[in-house]
Symmetry: D2
Subunit: 275 residues, 4 copies
Amino acid sequence: MAELQFDTYGKTAVRLTYVDRTNPRHEVRELSVSIFFEGDFRDSYFTGSNSSLLPTDTMKNTVYVLAKQLRWADIETFGRGITGHFLSRVPDVHQVTVQIEQVPWERIGEHAAAFRQAGTERRTAEISATRSGRQFTSGIRGLQVLKTADSAFAGFIKDEWTTLGETSDRLFGTVVSADWTYSRLDLDFNGTFTQVRDTLMQKFATHQSLSVQQTLFAMAEAVLAGCPAVQEIHLTLPNKHCLLVDLERFGIENPNQIFMPIDEPSGYIEARVMR
Amino acid sequence: MAELQFDTYGKTAVRLTYVDRTNPRHEVRELSVSIFFEGDFRDSYFTGSNSSLLPTDTMKNTVYVLAKQLRWADIETFGRGITGHFLSRVPDVHQVTVQIEQVPWERIGEHAAAFRQAGTERRTAEISATRSGRQFTSGIRGLQVLKTADSAFAGFIKDEWTTLGETSDRLFGTVVSADWTYSRLDLDFNGTFTQVRDTLMQKFATHQSLSVQQTLFAMAEAVLAGCPAVQEIHLTLPNKHCLLVDLERFGIENPNQIFMPIDEPSGYIEARVMR
Amino acid sequence: MAELQFDTYGKTAVRLTYVDRTNPRHEVRELSVSIFFEGDFRDSYFTGSNSSLLPTDTMKNTVYVLAKQLRWADIETFGRGITGHFLSRVPDVHQVTVQIEQVPWERIGEHAAAFRQAGTERRTAEISATRSGRQFTSGIRGLQVLKTADSAFAGFIKDEWTTLGETSDRLFGTVVSADWTYSRLDLDFNGTFTQVRDTLMQKFATHQSLSVQQTLFAMAEAVLAGCPAVQEIHLTLPNKHCLLVDLERFGIENPNQIFMPIDEPSGYIEARVMR
Amino acid sequence: MAELQFDTYGKTAVRLTYVDRTNPRHEVRELSVSIFFEGDFRDSYFTGSNSSLLPTDTMKNTVYVLAKQLRWADIETFGRGITGHFLSRVPDVHQVTVQIEQVPWERIGEHAAAFRQAGTERRTAEISATRSGRQFTSGIRGLQVLKTADSAFAGFIKDEWTTLGETSDRLFGTVVSADWTYSRLDLDFNGTFTQVRDTLMQKFATHQSLSVQQTLFAMAEAVLAGCPAVQEIHLTLPNKHCLLVDLERFGIENPNQIFMPIDEPSGYIEARVMR
């Protein structure tokens, strides 16, 4: 009577710190890896037979083994290696998806082996592979930026419940989430990541913004123009509001100086842009 | 050169506490409401013209006004009312999606006007509507459950990196996420929610589990069998591991008594089941 | 030149799930245990000699061993046992403090071995012991309550920057933190905990509140009156604001029905009350 | 019968973004301000009379007004101004404590008005003032650092439940919390903050660590030696463990390359050091 329409299983949040000691000047990479299998696992749902299941605990062990055995310097290459391993190892799996989130560590000064965590920003990658093909998506989460000039919002629809005033000068704060796909894969993924990230920040900083939408599109366009290997980019720019505090009721001027930042609610602007 | 493939905008996390004072015995509903518009908003991205945009601040105001003006006792009905309002109001919008999350408050004893927040669990609803039709999804997030008997895991694939032992008696803890759709909508949504939730917990409690997958399917089947209005159910059951602590290295027996619960990593089991 | 004024070391957040299988009807206790040593550990700071240090990793192992070896049914007794062990074991330690936080699990219906996590509330205990004496503190964290009637706030100081109106009917929401000490220790700690918690909720529910301060004191008084073994109680009641939404600017009445709950800022009221 | 032993009230988490537009090159300061009053407020607890209470809502308004009216470039000076205001304004208050947490924003490149949030680290200040004196404490929270060389731990106590091995080469990760007081107050607080922070990071990076305790003391000593205005420093260095993954059970070497970082449990080392 009941029918299985879709199913997947795997392991999430396998945490890993890799220390590259090849040179006296160490490198550190901290990752959180998630793995998802799709395939023919119906028996486990219907009969409780686990004969087609690789335990998720083994997935975890495998992440640690492959971190050591594979040659990788970026999360895209590591993720691809993990998908390849499982596809060759588990017959009933048809598709393996690996999601990796990298925690940024920056060197302290020029010290060979001391690092500072660079904050809440994360670099991400998702590699989804079958026996006949692969898809790579790279991304950023949690890039918090704010501009205090060159942001306006006016000319919008007003109805009887609209209280927002038009403004030619507001604060514009957002937390950039970006995901992009590639037109070719023989790439320096680390270099491309840095280039996309810098382009997003530069365009955000310099854009004469008439709306979050317009700035989002300008940022996407700049990435497509500047990074030829990027095929498509998906951006989410929540509008993290900073409300101007009403001091005039106390007879005090507040020429865009004193604001109250709020976490909730947020505006939400999302778009996918391709060549 | 750059082309807009998909776009949406809206407001997230509009928080609302509604106090029903119709009777001396008050009722409280605490919600977080998010609204997403899809439609013809290309100009705002390309030219910065905002003439087709209803500000997200107005969306927020509208939620509060409609909370007062609509007649509603469940989040599905409230969400439907919000979608209808915006579709009739904003010409360029083609689809409105409303997501609502309800924070559970329980009455303290039999007091008329005193309540206790019942925890991290949330009730959810998503209503997505165009001018020609609507889709309702109801759900649960964060229902944390644990069984200390009747859970086994054995007969799985072993490879050279498998260290997990077979077990006929493990702890099985999970945090249920469920979403379901309906075959008809002339429903008591509050009653249906309670019935789905109770059915999920009962089946989890009584199932002789051979795997998380098998229990997930049994829970889905039980909902479809017991709740005729439910068309399809989507369940995510992370396996929140409790590791048996190795006391034998100290010469001390540990017959499934002392465990270490861990947050990361988790197993992850997800499936969608329909009639 | 530099002098050590105070130092402590230990282990925090040792997580433990204890399954009592004595009866077919299982019991579950989930704890997070922290341990702090004070004593003569100056050499470790000055010379790097670790000869007086018990590793914090051993503290963790010990928690698991003692969870099995001690006879305990409440966190106060378990904590006392841990302090006693370390004081007898480590010569250079003068004082051991154990903090325990218990996650509440409720039985699902009458099932023998299935449980539901009861939310964000936590029961706490702190036992601080030297070779000559001990101090017990028990507590609650995260008890979220709300009353929709019988709460006023008026007659306060007004200055030129006061905009708050007087009110005879506001929402009063808070997250109770409570800590209490005992006048005697030959107690049923579980029963006492339940009694203190119930008393706090009952008094919160029934009090005709003229301010958070007055309700706080009434709650403390009720505990001291009803629980003879409690010597002193310390309460923190943040005022979790629910702002009345201004619908009158739209010509719509809002007779204390539609509110916006906010997380920040909060009022903050704290007091310690003793017999 | 019940007696008030201690009481305080105030407002927590008043959030404020200040934009300094004096020059075309803007400056941004984001703060979260908390205020606590101690004084003669007994009537509000006993009788519900609020005639001695300044509402916490007025405290919030006052923070915004003073942010505009005071001349301040650092949180210590702003906090001092707030304490002074309330002491002169509210007769029944005896002591005002202001805690401020600053969110770090860094300029994006050389842009005049665009910023990036620099992460989870926070700068803090606490100013506690009566009508006869003041105390200043400055601090850091959430400075996450990691060293991959020059950290050992050996020679510690072993008992029958010790399983930790001695090591001459481990990862040492921590999240620095620091608080310091001053011997004089005619200071450049911003410059002093930068100097203390840099000194803590430099010493952490270069120290040949035999234990967290020894490194903590070395860091404190370095601050006292390098920053003459600092009177006393209080440091908390949790030991955020990175566990070496056991690959040898698979016949694979792991020469300190592959680690599993864990959040819980943590070691905990805390000390206060003065001249």
